[in-house]
Amino acid sequence: MTSFTIKINGKTHGPTEVRDDLSMNDYLREYLGMTGTKFGCGAAQCLACAVIVDDPDGTSRTSPTCVVPAIAFNGQSIRTVEGHAKDGELSELQRAFVTHFSFQCGYCTAGFVNEGQVLLERLAKQPIARGDLDKTIQDSLNGHICRCTGYVKYHEAIRDVVLANDQRYLTKA
């Protein structure tokens, strides 16, 4: 058992004692009841379980939760799918996923929301050329499995968010 504190969507949880062999996914789903983060494979293959980790250096990244112990997140700040909409207002990316019919069954959606959001935030800091955009989106989605959609409408939604604000995300041609 290890004492553990974590900030999730801005709210601090803990310190609390958890088993060293408890996965972060089970901490979220079984201990906190935060089931927006899904369990798909338990093997870091589908990333339905991915959350955003906000590192102290100001950068953010996604991390699976199924193959990572909860205590590995001790002291960290994370965001989950439940944390994107503010006061019932969807984020720009969430809205794009809805209006593009990006998902079908929706079970992979939390992972795509988090991955897409991290990508947008990274591009805002490090814009890329228009010509690299599709490859960059594809690379960022490639760790995620979606069995329903063929990924196309996720890809297009992210691309449209970028292109709608190309000053922010893309370098000047």
Binding site: D21, S23, A43, A44, Q45, T62, V67, A72, N142, G143
Partner: protein, 203 residues
């Protein structure tokens, strides 16, 4: 008796009636340097010692992350499969910006999730690709400063003998076959190889 049952196999064997499936994995052993004393010619002995040590270097635990190309491999057999999800070495060997090795591979193995881990989990440089190579080719590679990161042989041996990421190959976690022998036995073979002139096998 040249088979050594790994730690996790011992757990499995506690069940007398358990079938030989599931996670029981059996590691090979390494022959101690002393056993090579009978080879009179020092160069031949040196090459033979390297050959024995190469059982480790050609083992899936090592080759999987010494791939030809930019994508590591996975699995426990000679016909290993490309790593899923499809990751690449990236500029620093620690993965691309969108998928860093450390996203999944934490500081240590996490057996409940069957996830191997180490603090410095990353790919060997492309110049040190061992996949599909013979012991002789690997030997030349290891000795070549242009390919081994400009290291002396002593530095290379030190790395292989004591680096803890290398050492992970002998404690790879549930469901993965460890490299043969122990890291100490491996180090002893490399020391003996250097002491006999660090000769490379012909093939």
């Amino acid at each position: 008796m040249n088979l050594l049952v790994a730690r996790i196999a011992a757990v499995g064997l506690a069940f007398a009636a358990v079938p030989a499936v599931a996670v029981e994995v059996v590691a090979g052993s390494l022959t101690a340097p002393a056993s090579f004393a009978g080879i009179a010619d020092a160069t031949a002995r040196s090459a033979a010692l390297f050959n024995e040590a190469a059982k480790v270097m050609t083992h899936p635990r090592c080759v999987n992350c010494h791939p030809v190309g930019d994508r590591p491999f996975q699995g426990d057999s000679a016909a290993n499969r490309p790593h899923q999800p499809p990751v690449v070495r990236g500029p620093d060997g620690f993965g691309a910006a969108t998928m860093r090795c450390a996203s999944c591979h934490q500081k240590a193995n996490f057996d409940p999730g069957r996830m191997p881990g180490h603090e410095h989990w990353h790919l060997a440089p492309a110049s040190m690709a061992w996949q599909g190579k013979t012991p002789g080719q690997i030997c030349q590679q290891v000795k070549d400063p242009a390919r081994n990161g400009n290291r002396t042989i002593a530095q290379v041996v030190e790395h292989m003998s004591h680096d803890t990421l290398v050492g992970w190959a002998w404690a790879p976690g549930v469901g993965r076959t460890p490299a043969p022998g122990t890291q100490a036995e491996f180090a002893a073979l490399l020391d003996a190889w250097v002491a006999t002139g660090a000769a490379c096998p012909a093939s």
